[in-house]
Point group: C2
Chain length 105, copies 2
């Protein structure tokens, strides 16, 4: 599997960010072709204390890099990205790569 | 579920980093109590081109924040962290938080 990771720095207005993320961005994300899973993690802290480096990360899973690229280039992918950029373009960064998953022990 | 995310900026020597991560750090990670799953993603790129912001992220999953905190404070958790800090302390950041997972459609 391959995933696209979106790193969200801390928004100035968390409630406003969360509202637009949920109402304007996610409904379009679900329409993206080939999307297998979305995992979102909102950070509560960092070990040893202090503010975590990000508000949250969101991870979009696809079967392959070809599928991921095709999905991002699709009309649905562009619409989801456009909606996101309107309210979070200044706080989001992206990276994608192969997922290696292992069970403990 | 709760996860601890380790963000690894680009090492100066990738091969050396990967070798020590595999041989010195991961065998100790597997001994950490309460660890449910480890997912590692090495980044191949970012949408639109350019160098991804990180070399990789590693995500350690636990049943709860209590379990995660106890595991990090355990002798096994400290040993794993100490080993990591010896070769990656200058390129790693951490954050932990609740995982929200959804299946597409």
């Amino acid at each position: 599997m391959v995933k696209l990771v979106a790193f969200y720095r801390h928004p100035e207005d968390v409630d406003e960010f969360e509202r637009r993320y949920r109402d304007e961005h996610m409904p379009l994300v679900w329409k993206m072709p080939g999307l297998r899973k979305v995992e979102v993690c909102r950070f509560a802290g960092q070990p040893g204390g202090g503010r975590p480096p990000y508000h949250m990360i969101a991870e979009l899973y696809f079967d392959s890099e070809v599928d991921l690229q095709a999905s991002m280039r699709s009309p649905e992918g562009r619409a989801a990205a456009d909606a996101l950029m309107r309210f979070a373009g200044h706080i989001v960064s992206f990276a994608y790569g192969e997922v290696r998953q292992e069970s403990a022990r």
